[in-house]
Symmetry: C2
Amino acid sequence: MKVVFLGTGGTYPSKHRNVTSVALQMPGEVLMFDCGEGTQRQLMHSSVSFMRISKVFVTHLHADHFLGIPGLIQSMSLNGRESELAIYGPNGTEETVKAMLNLGYFKCGYPVEARDIAPDSTLDFGTYTVRTASADHTVPALAYAVEESARPGRFDPSKAKALGVLEGPMFRRLQEGRAVTVKGSQVRPEEVMGPPRRGRKFVYTGDTRPSEGLVEFSRGADVLVHDCTVDSKHAKLASEFGHSTAAGAASVAKAACVKRLFLVHFSPRYDDVGILREEARVTFPDSETAEEFSDHVVRHSE
Amino acid sequence: MKVVFLGTGGTYPSKHRNVTSVALQMPGEVLMFDCGEGTQRQLMHSSVSFMRISKVFVTHLHADHFLGIPGLIQSMSLNGRESELAIYGPNGTEETVKAMLNLGYFKCGYPVEARDIAPDSTLDFGTYTVRTASADHTVPALAYAVEESARPGRFDPSKAKALGVLEGPMFRRLQEGRAVTVKGSQVRPEEVMGPPRRGRKFVYTGDTRPSEGLVEFSRGADVLVHDCTVDSKHAKLASEFGHSTAAGAASVAKAACVKRLFLVHFSPRYDDVGILREEARVTFPDSETAEEFSDHVVRHSE
């Protein structure tokens, strides 16, 4: 699991930051969170293969979060994509995607499935789920949590040997969760494996004020990517427009006991976001301001 | 009059070229020709003030020529624009702009007037006209010619003096096109001024095959900006998809006796467009491949 920041600015692009988009590399596919104008070109400057994007999750229908979708869809088609692209978002997403596909002359060479999803939904993709929660913005907005399924516990070879299991194919069979028979009696996997280990958790808030709901939603996340539009001098402005200060984002990270906080969606007023990073670190030391094209590998904690 | 190349690539953006957009700086305003995705950010890297753009001329409704419009409109609004923005294009432009303004949550803070225009139209803006012609593409497409009004002829001070006109306010009056009275008899401007001098002419073809119609339309232009998607090895492809080779563009420039040819809309297959420049120069030596953010000042020829 690797987070790649394709755009880290908010509201409108600036010379050095594109509007917000975050890619999450998963085994065999890429999940995209928000897709502002110009994201397809940001992808070309990143390590992410844009043809491997399987799903796009839109937080809300403000232009800086979705205007890159039609260009991305068309370029994928021009490059011969055949597999379906799924697009999820709050109410209005399906209609908006439909309208974007109907702009000008264009016939898509592969299926695009857009779907409105409600807050507090869970989408089950087998090896991981994507859950939604309401973000606290000026228009209906979703935060997303990606949670991997639990992995099997650790295999204990000494326990297995003590039960008479021979190293080799029988070890593998147990590690795969199947029982083996030793001298007529069964050895079950749970006798030689530790407890299941939880998968990794990634949370992306999109645009939001700091909220109690998002603290619960983010609890224990390995990575929290949180709105950080301004510093605390502009707290009133942030609240009025449904955004967070660096301190606000850090307080959510701290209360939720996340491992790492990445700040994004910086107002174009900041040429240097050092002030935001420093402000967040006062409350939550493991804070980082995301840079264009930077990435972060999310490791298993156990 | 200055041409600024904001994007020089075609079909879809590449790492080093954005899709096509050309700005024409006129006295007190900027005209924009095509506006692909990401153009607002290209503007930030250029010398063009995006708030001075008064009119956008769309050649045709393929995404690489218009998808930058909604983001540009919204950023102008967020930056407090109050003056009208006019958008012209072929049939379907008004409907497409309306659809783009209705995407997601957005209320524009200034008037946007979109208007479909037919080929062979003339829009009179007082000090200049914009004419349209049919381009030869796969969908309805317009080429645009900007032609300045003729300037007054050169004032000949020796002729004026010989007619008894005194240097000073009377000279100025004649230069402004008004008669003066010297010793009871009238001296008319045409007695002391040369013939009117033609204004500058700029032509932008948009996507097109080389065409006889565009030769006539471009005749005598100071600058011709012409589609040049591929080199002649791919002539069949160019023709099939309604584009020009470098040689094709150069043949139009030569036949139309233009002063300068700029090639744009390069296929993403070219990392180096030198081959296109060289191919064009065989037919028309004053050919140049446009570079991102490069500009060209169009001088009066007389």
